[in-house]
């Protein structure tokens, strides 16, 4: 009976009710849309980073620190025998890093030179282009870096490097292929060449800086090599997206606050205006608790109807964004963030949708209940006379 009465009451309030419902539905929509964007970005970035860089995890030579360029020169060691077997079976790849300098059109640029096996297929880097077919040294570079250097496929760049003793040498590299990726960690300021050529250039046969393995469960320990699992390797991305999610939550917290303010005001107003009604209900034998339930339910019904209204316009809109993505509107690579393509493809999981609905319902219930506490002190005689008991 309470449900029917509550429904009748809120529908009877007309435009006021529908405005509240619309604002609430907008809150649902914005929360789900924004959260979906971040979930989609994280999913895309994690997948791409695994495909292009991390595979199932990595072993780092113990002195290697990606955030300290001073360590780069010394970060190399002989590949352990067990890992060599994995490499031979195609279940791991070795990558050797070396600081170097390139000259394009007479301009000098410091880069990280990376050596990788051309026949590998563990990560998506198009390393098959590194196969030396015409006696030249081929290299591949990312499209963002190539645009930055203003070079195209078939161009030559001069490479200068130092071997393990610190002796300079230089040679011409042919840009065999320019690849496109959203993973900044494999393209920013990097030039890729064949591993055997780089090992020969540096005088470091059979040495590597990192070993990327296929199997996530392979975690054997080796002297002077540190295993880094995917949780560690993706930690920066996870932290960054978490920080951005928190930042964006301010916006939907504001929307939610406005919606709650509207519900609260509606409740306060209706309790004030419906004093005689409450007195009559009490006189007819309705307990205070039942009246509190009625008013609280009226507030909660706003949230329930908002779910339905939000579904009417939200589902088509969110499905559309899920399919076509949301255009970022500028070259995402300039932002220096991995996983960002020209468009972001949001992902709306059940966890996200139900989580949002439950969160809003709980908040609306609390906000609807708070003004009704006055009813607990209300005397039926005061109520019937249109007074509030103090």
């Amino acid at each position: 009976m309470i449900f029917r009465l509550a429904m009748k009451n809120i529908l009877g309030a007309g435009l006021r009710t529908w405005l509240n419902i619309f604002i609430l539905s907008l809150s649902y929509f914005v929360i789900i849309a924004l959260q979906g964007l971040y979930v989609g970005w994280q999913d895309d970035a994690s997948r791409e980073m695994k495909n292009w860089d991390f595979a199932g995890g990595q072993y780092w030579q113990e002195t290697y620190d990606p955030y300290d360029p001073f360590t780069l020169e010394e970060s190399h060691a002989t590949i352990p025998e067990d890992l060599q077997k994995l490499i031979a079976n195609g279940e791991a790849i070795s990558i050797l890093f070396s600081p170097a300098t390139i000259y394009t059109d007479g301009r000098m640029r410091n880069i990280v030179l990376k050596g990788i096996e051309p026949s590998q297929n563990l990560i998506e880097l198009p390393t098959n282009f590194l196969t030396d077919s015409d006696g030249e040294i081929n290299c591949i570079i990312g499209s963002g870096f190539a645009d930055n250097l203003n070079i195209k496929e078939g161009d030559y760049i001069v490479l200068r490097w130092r071997d393990k003793n610190g002796t300079y040498d230089a040679c011409d590299l042919k840009v065999a292929h320019i690849f496109s990726t959203t993973v900044i960690t494999v393209e920013s300021n990097q030039v890729w060449i064949s591993l055997s050529i780089l090992q020969e250039m540096l005088g470091l046969p059979n040495e590597g800086t990192i070993i990327t393995v296929k199997d996530e469960k392979y975690k054997k320990e080796f002297f002077s090599w540190q295993h880094k699992d995917l949780d560690f390797l993706l930690l920066d991305l996870t932290k960054m997206i978490k920080a951005k999610t928190i930042g964006s939550s301010i916006m939907y917290m504001l929307m939610l606050f406005l919606a709650m303010l509207a519900i609260f005001d509606t409740q306060v107003l209706s309790i004030f205006r419906r004093r005689k009604e409450m007195g009559t209900m009490m006189a007819l034998g309705m307990t205070r608790l039942k009246i509190i339930q009625l008013f609280t339910l009226e507030g909660v019904l706003h949230a329930v109807l908002a779910i339905l209204m939000g579904a009417v316009y939200g589902i088509p809109l969110l499905s559309h964004f899920e399919k076509v993505g949301m255009k970022i509107g500028m070259d995402a690579k300039e932002w220096g963030l991995s996983g960002l393509d020209d468009a972001l493809y949001p992902v709306y999981g059940w966890k996200l949708v139900f989580g949002t609905i439950v969160l809003v319902l709980i908040i609306v219930t609390i906000v609807s209940f708070l003004p009704t506490r006055k009813i607990a002190k209300l005397k039926p005689t005061d109520a019937l006379r249109g007074k509030m008991t103090k």
Binding site: F70, M108, D163, T167, Y168
Partner: protein, 245 residues
């Protein structure tokens, strides 16, 4: 007659090479001119980049092979910038930011203020005769001066340039021209001395042109305004504390 011709032909190379002095001796002569335990100098560096020419004046103090200190005197933008080299480490003090930055490893290969000289080139002050063995391979006239052409090959493994080719003035014992090569023989840098001057008993370059041949631009000119050999330099100058003074 035939035997006589053969004998003469056999002796011709001996006659030619007999005129060539020992490469080692020439390197030592160069070191005698160029090397000193303690040096104080004031120089002007003119950087001819692709778009503009920048002129900087600096004062340098050098002690042995491993310590040196430089302070930029002009232009106002760079004045007060100081560089301290101790062994293989370099610290640069920026007065605008009031910060000292340490440079080491591959960062030393970066160009100094956009010039054709890397920090490493600036820091290289070893005696050339200790690092290279030399062979005299010919002679040529450079800037109206008769020169020996020497091919230098590194005696030690940890050297920046495996081979160098230098043109040494036969009378003043200065390398008037120099070409520095990579391990594979690719030319990387050139140095040309356009003017020399006498400091006491030493001949010393007055005007040197450095050129990174892989880079576009006209090169970097270094003009030595004044130089003092075997100067008395307090040890305290080669400390990090002196960067902020």
């Amino acid at each position: 007659m035939r035997n006589l011709i053969i004998t003469i032909l056999m002796f011709i190379p001996l006659i030619i090479f007999a005129e060539y002095p020992s490469g080692e001796m020439l390197l030592k002569k160069i070191d005698e001119n160029m090397y000193s335990e303690n040096i104080i100098s004031v120089s002007t560096m003119i950087i001819h980049s692709r778009r503009a020419t920048k002129t900087m004046k600096l004062k340098s103090w050098k002690n042995g092979d491993n310590s040196s200190f430089s302070e930029y005197l002009s232009p106002p933008k760079n004045a007060g910038t100081k560089m301290l080299k101790l062994d293989n480490n370099l610290w640069i003090y920026n007065p605008q930011a009031d910060r000292t930055i340490r440079i080491s490893g591959h960062m030393l290969r970066q160009s100094v203020m956009g010039s054709d000289l890397s920090y490493e080139d600036m820091m290289e002050e070893d005696e050339i005769s200790k690092i290279y063995q030399a062979e005299v391979i010919g002679e040529e006239v450079i800037n109206e001066a008769d020169c020996w052409i020497l091919m230098l090959t590194a005696k030690v493994a940890d050297v920046n340039y495996q081979t160098r080719k230098i043109w040494v003035d036969k009378t003043k014992y200065l390398a008037l021209r120099e070409e520095r090569f990579g391990k594979s023989g690719k030319l990387l840098k050139t140095t040309t001395i356009d003017e020399v001057f006498l400091v006491g008993k030493r001949w010393y370059p007055k005007k040197i042109m450095f050129k990174d041949v892989l880079k576009k631009g006209k090169g970097t000119e270094l003009i030595i305004e004044s130089i003092e050999f075997d100067a008395n330099i307090p040890a305290s100058i080669f400390s990090k504390a002196s960067l902020r003074k």
